[in-house]
């Protein structure tokens, strides 16, 4: 079913576009630019796997790195500390399709407020909240493109932003966690709804419906029912005959000429040889951490603080979203390991509310995320025995009778939360490792705790025999990488304009989580994909008009 690559560009050939990264944004940009008639070379640092190579192997995927990046990352909470590897972790996939291959597939749109919150509520002390240079209405047609071209299943809910077209597919079948989540939330007077998921609930665009195998989050879908860029747009791009996806190509530098224009990139190929490819324009879609790192690695005498960084904001305002979990134990088996991870969510606490006394908002969903090994290691309630006959008995009793309510919340853009280059730790090629400096804003931690408390309320109202979960704390783990090259009108405070063109280098475009100005409420991929559809159209138009 998958299209095979039909185009190979010579290293001596100047392509119209190099797209670095083949994930949620890169895959869509490759498709949009190649179907519009441009030649496109996608350079992806990870390998190319076929769908049939995706495995249901928890130990491999959750404990042995599986399909995720193993490049070193150092972490610290503040600039006065020394960052160390092991003190924090970024989780992103490294293969053709990027993190869209292993995502859970929660596809929430942002709402109108997310684009204009700064002017609506004013500032938040300790943060640099900005409005986006575009509005929800500007992005809505592209959210709809994601719904239909990528494939999202769902049903309208009471707090949804306006949509110009219905969902292409009905919601996935509800699981027991969804039924209990609905029961609890309704008792509390809240408004649960089917979760919008980038997973086919019925055959769509020549891809099959979900087989309910239960291996979505952190796993690739062997059926192609999950709407990754690998399963959706990349085959379309390759079928144009104008797009090559070159795996195992680790881009280390964007090169520029003496006019300050990008001329191409330097990368290590699959054999570890350094190569150069020239291009009329370069698009970086490496993710919100890697794009910033690559710009910083591309410093030169002309761009001493990194490429496209005259504002000094490249890498700054890193946002990770707040993540919380609460667990509940029920009388009868739920068998949460069967079926897609998530089937119900709610948005009652989306808007920030001054009455709470702090900025922030979020959503919640019901989900499964305790595979067998994870469950046996840490899935039992606190104070449970950790080995022995009673421990074994609890494993038997609890595994099928447990569910998680997860909270997903705002991250404020804080200048000191950043991606930078580590001064001492190097990667396997001798290049500076990525260094994360991050402490959640105090309001973000309060929002997380607010969501923990409400998650527990839902579980209790649903009739759980036992409810538990950790209190909110400053995070040192992230899968959402946002805000590090944010979009804006003012070149002094932002990195790209509303066309995703860098303010400093006219033929360099940045489009991925790094473009996001605010963090939304915790599920950014739908927005990253919508931005990529919009960017693809605008960049192609600029190219056609000779304005790149």
């Amino acid at each position: 079913m998958q299209a095979r690559p039909t185009r190979r560009f010579a290293l001596t050939e100047e392509v119209d576009f190099i797209v670095v990264g083949s994930g949620s944004a890169g895959g869509i940009l490759a498709k949009e630019l190649s179907t519009a008639g441009h030649s496109v070379l996608v350079l992806e640092q990870g390998p190319r796997l076929q769908q049939s190579q995706f495995e249901h192997d928890e130990y491999k995927h959750v404990f042995q790195g599986g399909i995720t990046s193993n490049r070193p990352v150092t972490w610290r909470r503040s600039a006065d500390q020394e960052a160390r590897t092991g003190d924090g972790q970024l989780l992103y996939a490294s293969l053709v399709g990027g993190s869209s291959v292993h995502f859970t597939a929660n596809f929430w749109r942002l709402r109108e407020i997310d684009f204009i919150e700064a002017s609506r509520i004013g500032g938040v002390p300790g943060a640099n909240l900005m409005d986006w240079p575009i509005t929800y209405q500007d992005l809505e047609p592209y959210y709809t493109k994601v719904d239909w071209e990528i494939g999202v299943s769902g049903a309208p809910g009471p707090f949804d932003p306006p949509r110009s077209r219905p969902y292409p597919m009905p919601p996935l079948p509800v699981k027991s966690s969804g039924v209990l989540f609905e029961r609890g939330a309704r008792k509390l007077g809240w408004h649960p709804q089917p979760a919008p998921m980038a997973i086919n609930s019925r055959a769509h665009n020549n891809r099959p419906p979900c087989q309910q195998c239960g291996y979505c989050m952190l796993f690739g879908c062997e059926y192609g029912a999950k709407s990754s860029s690998l399963a959706t747009v990349i085959p379309i791009a390759e079928a144009t005959g104008r797009c090559e996806v070159r795996p195992e190509s680790y881009v280390t530098r964007v090169e520029t000429d003496d006019r300050g224009r990008a001329t191409g990139v330097v990368y290590f190929d699959a054999q570890g040889r350094e190569q150069r490819q020239r291009a009329k324009a370069v698009v970086l879609s490496c993710n919100g951490a890697e794009t910033a790192r690559l710009l910083l690695l591309s410093s030169s005498s002309r761009f001493p603080q990194g490429l496209a960084n005259s504002s000094g904001t490249v890498g700054k305002y890193l946002m990770l979203n707040g993540n919380t979990t609460a667990m509940g134990q029920f009388e009868h088996p739920l068998n949460e390991h069967k079926g897609a991870q998530v089937t119900r969510m709610l948005w009652d606490f989306y808007e920030t509310d001054p009455k709470r006394g702090f900025y922030g908002g979020g959503g919640m969903d019901a989900r499964y995320q305790t595979w067998p090994i994870v469950f046996a290691l840490s899935g039992l309630p606190p104070n449970s025995p950790q080995w022995g006959r009673e421990y074994t008995r609890l494993l038997r009793e609890y595994y099928t009778r447990q569910m998680t309510v997860a909270g997903h919340t705002t991250s404020l853009p804080v200048e000191t939360n950043s991606v930078s280059l580590d001064p001492t730790v190097k990667d396997e090629r001798g290049l500076p490792a990525m260094r994360i400096t991050y402490t959640d804003h105090a309001d973000d931690v309060k929002t997380m705790q607010f969501m923990v408390d409400r998650s527990k309320q839902i579980l209790e109202a649903a009739g759980a025999k036992q409810v538990w979960g950790p209190d909110a704390q400053v995070q040192n783990f992230a899968a959402h990488l946002l805000g590090t090259c944010r979009m804006g009108k003012d070149p002094r405070t932002s990195v790209v304009n509303s066309d995703h063109r860098s303010h400093d280098v006219p033929n360099l475009f940045l489009c991925d989580g790094s473009s996001m100005v605010t963090s939304g409420r915790g599920q950014p991929t739908m927005t990253i994909m919508a931005l990529a559809f919009r960017a693809g159209e605008r960049i192609s138009n600029l190219a056609r008009r000779g304005e790149i």
Binding site: H56, H337, R396, T400
Partner: protein, 194 residues
């Protein structure tokens, strides 16, 4: 009961029952996927330890059998969790082998001090092993022992343990290429669905 969740016949029967005719049009791809899944479920049990000595293997298995016990049904012992460790010590855990061997020797010494004449942990009774492990809980090796016991019991059989899917059966975790609703008790209740 999980018979053979990765058999082509079972898979196609399920696919047919679900009306998944689209699947039947691409049997080559299905065979490829099932061959892959089947590989994980059907690796033969090694006749003996490859990387552990027989004495160390038996002692580690005895300890594992009191972490995930067989008191109320098959546990870590029946899952062959120790064979996961044995296999891992030949590959990604090789650098830890000397430390593990030394830790087991030290444990034997401690057991001998407690119960004079003891030459192997495997010779202790379950009650003695429980008492012994209680004394190890705060020790440096216990966390690792617990971790390899859990992985050896619950990881895919391709890693060397979870023989006959004993670990998954203990939990009630089914591994199948596909499921159909209802999945659990609550979504099977008509009043629960909406």
């Amino acid at each position: 009961m999980l018979t053979d969740p990765t058999s082509r016949r079972a898979f196609l029967a399920a696919a047919g029952a679900a009306g998944m005719t689209w699947l039947l049009s691409d049997l080559g791809a299905i065979d490829e996927a099932l061959a892959h899944a089947g590989h994980a479920a059907s690796l033969p049990r090694p006749a003996e330890f490859v990387n552990l000595s027989a004495a160390d293997g038996a002692d580690i298995e005895a300890l594992m059998s009191r972490i995930i016990t067989s008191d109320d049904g098959p546990g870590a012992k029946e899952a062959g969790a120790v064979y996961f460790l044995d296999k891992a010590l030949g590959t990604f855990m090789a650098p830890q082998k000397d430390g593990i061997v030394a830790a087991i020797a030290e444990m034997r010494k401690q057991a001998a001090a407690k119960w004079p004449g003891t030459t192997s942990l495997a010779a202790l009774t379950p009650a003695q092993l429980d008492e012994f492990l209680k004394g190890q809980e705060e020790g440096p090796a216990f966390g690792q022992l617990r971790f390899v016991t859990i992985v050896g019991t619950f990881a895919n059989p391709s890693w060397g343990g979870n023989k006959d899917l004993v670990g998954w059966k203990l939990l009630g975790h089914e591994m199948k290429p596909m499921f159909q609703p209802p999945f659990g008790y609550y979504d099977a209740q008509p009043q629960g669905r909406s």
